[in-house]
Symmetry: D2
Subunit: 287 residues, 4 copies
């Protein structure tokens, strides 16, 4: 793979008005930025301007502090929500899992193969099953015995662990515990989950069984940010696969795991490359 | 296209037990059938045996009456639900539509191009919009002014019209009226509908708007048999298409129409080729 | 559908260097442009900068002549290839076809339904088969009897006809004649073709038969610009569909037609919305 | 997962004639077979009959030897090619790889997760890179230093190793050596390979680079049986993924790896479940 340049990424959303692109592009040009990617999008309904811009730091004359100082007045003047990211500062990921290991195995493999540009700080689980995988890939593994009684304390320990490891993204890789609102609030827009999805939706218990009983022709999976509304957070990625009556329930579940792996890995990839802009209840993916 | 043989198709579902394939195959062989396609499926949960078998009538020694007489005892003995179809007896289709013509135009085109092996007996609508299309393709067009008050009478007229035209399949090609239970009962498992489908489902009004607001990454469509439970009948075909924030709501609706056309045409194709076996609330497609 | 604004679209490719976005954005802002879409792309290998920018003409202070005059020095200074398009100036399309009408029927339907924002000026064919369709949709139909002997003259007549009708895009909708280099040169990057595609490729005669004999699991179609190298022009869109041994050769061909319709319509949609930037032998689709 | 029954599978191809299904079904019924799956297919062009039939061994009155003795005359009389397989006799797989480990890692994971019903006997490679993975999954790893000079001897050692391990399927998981005709002949229809596939095909060196330069919109992968004609063997599975100008060459290669994993795993799954019937240069997949 060729040498990758050190880059900075600026993500902005603000009320739309004339001259925003010029203002931002001028600002960057003034400090000698070589823009590598610039994507913008207007939400015409909501009159919003959304932008992702990435530039090579080679020759750029502002360091992080100077950038923040210089850009702040422009941001204020235009009512911008903005984030500045550096490709050299990798997202630090905690993977939460339970017994099923298909998503964990996939993420750890992709990480080691260089396809995910992040640090995986730790694997946390309420079961021991994934420990050998974590060991193989050299990632610290932490087991927490969660009971209905000790859940608040365990969650606090998990938050502490994540903070101690400077974690900035928690990936729920088929973690079979529902996070409390307090936990979700501790990592706003920094928790990604994956769940199966069907057309039509089968809400409630045993969705695969019910989809099978209904004879669905497609099964799907969705990755999304976790919000207070369970499984209702902003969608990041979705995919489907064709099934038929020739597929047993077991095979359908197996195929579903492949989908889950794929849409979760894609979400982690985009998040850690700062390609997702989240606003209202939806995402824009600047892929 | 090569000369297509005249065939008979037998569709069976019954409790599973040993020897069913042998029994049916022997019966057909006794009367000199040349089997062209034989597909079977077991629903292991429900202990059901399902089969579709198609044979060339050339050389077959039973006519329809003789077949029915000879096969009846076997069917009774094995508790079979069965249907006998002849490729020479084409399904007679009534297309019901409203203002939107994308599905009507697609079905009429495919029919004339020879891709749908059925007779289209008539187009019925509560609006005049599709009349020119029906005229162009030489299909009789019937307009019904439906109001909440006259709906029962109009439905009776529609049923009468279908019966007078020997219709055996009603295709709801974006027909924006909900059929009454009485109508559905008049054509059991003989009415096919299409509707948009999303992951997750957006039940209720303005689904495209809500899917758009939620930032879905896939839009879908489902064709299904109409039962008393609105949009909950057995699924025949489903498909999806990728969308992104770059697609406006209008474009999403446009893409959705393409999906609707496709999954509806596929359903009509399979139904009229007698490839669908319907049991419980699901379909087996012997494609 | 909501009222659509009158817009201008600028398509640029030039050697990459710092400050290009700022330069262009400033230029537009100076004349009070309200930018609706801005997409850019860098070809890092070839050190090229590619951009599509679309703005609302409401309030914009330059008319076309003034724009061209004012922008020319900037373009020259930066070595830009550039095109300026107006949404009010619709692409004028000529559809060329032979006997098969699936693509013609699809394009004419989409056009009338408002899904293709272009004018269809005429349908030209070497066979009479598509005349009724053209008549139905109210598009002038021109038949040309092409023989090996008169081909140069017929092509000249076709060019004359297109010129007389101010045609700016020729769509080969399964037109079974190979255009001469002279014809291609008369409409550079303005002729779109569609052909079937397989994995692996089956070059030469009877590709469906050979793909069928080889047991391919996917069939595909590709739309592309026509260049001197037959079927080797820049790819615009591609799609595939799954097939199995259960599909007869006839059904495979039928499915292939569906793909051809779809990828050709998509290509016409993107071309007429000025979303395609063509450089070297490839396209960038600013969808 | 529920208890899976012990089953036998019979795969047949022979000249088509009347009564074949009856003959086979009667034979099985005579010995008290409970048929679980029966799929048949006619190649009408070649007048061939192809069948896969699977039955529960519980209650079946013939052991393997008795079956072979009893069925042989029927097979001879009807000119059948036939194979008898038992679900209890698992396919023994050797995975051949080089440096790239994405397919190996995927196959080993799926095997351990129970999604591949086979024994993985060994991993063989001309490089040490995949040893840790093989060790982790507890599969013996064998390294062979291949040079142009010693290739015939190494191949013989590999064949000996496979024979010593009762290997019945060799999976080339991105093995970057071309097998000699002698090797291929030693394992006829028992070697599966995977390679990238493009529309159109890019034959020769650096296919990804050339596909990228051409701006393809889809990338694909194909798994196939290895025959004397390199990459021209019967196709087992194919899949594609959408790419755009936003994907770098590196990302395209990364996406391609995902496809390769998937189509190779699918091929191994079908082969080891005896769902593939190979005839002439094509496969029928009785999925």
């Amino acid at each position: 793979m060729p040498h990758e340049p050190q880059t900075a990424i600026l993500l902005i959303d603000c009320p739309d008005k004339k001259g925003l692109v010029a203002t931002i592009a001028n600002f960057l040009y003034t400090y000698n930025a070589n823009i590598l990617h610039a994507d913008q999008h207007q939400d015409h309904d909501k009159q919003l301007f959304l932008m992702r811009i990435e530039w090579d730091l080679d020759g750029f004359t502002l360091d992080e502090g100077a950038f923040r100082a210089a850009f702040a007045p422009i941001a204020t003047q235009n009512g911008m929500n903005w984030r500045l990211e550096y490709s050299s500062t990798k997202t630090r990921v905690a993977i939460f899992c339970s017994k099923m290991d298909h998503c964990v195995a996939d993420l750890l493999y992709r990480h080691r193969a260089g396809a995910l540009r992040c640090d995986i700080a730790l694997v946390a689980s309420n079961h021991p099953d994934c420990k050998p995988l974590a060991d193989f890939y050299g990632i610290p593994f932490h087991q927490f015995a969660v009971t209905p009684e000790n859940k608040p304390q365990v969650e606090q320990q998990q938050i502490d662990l994540c903070r101690a490891n400077a974690v900035t993204l928690i990936v729920l890789a088929r973690y079979m515990q529902i996070l409390s609102p307090a936990f979700v609030q501790a990592y706003p827009s920094q928790i990604i989950n994956v769940h199966h999805s069907f057309l039509p939706a089968f809400i409630g218990a045993k969705p695969y069984q019910r989809a099978f009983d209904r004879g669905v022709k497609l099964i799907g999976a969705t990755s999304h940010y976790v919000t207070q509304d369970l499984d209702e957070g902003p969608i990041i990625e979705q995919d489907v696969m064709r099934v038929s009556h020739r597929d047993s329930l077991e095979r359908m579940v197996e195929r579903g795991k492949d989908l889950e792996k794929r849409v979760l890995a894609r979400a982690v990839e985009w998040h850690t490359e700062h390609k997702i802009l989240l606003y209202n209840r939806k995402t824009v993916i600047f892929d």
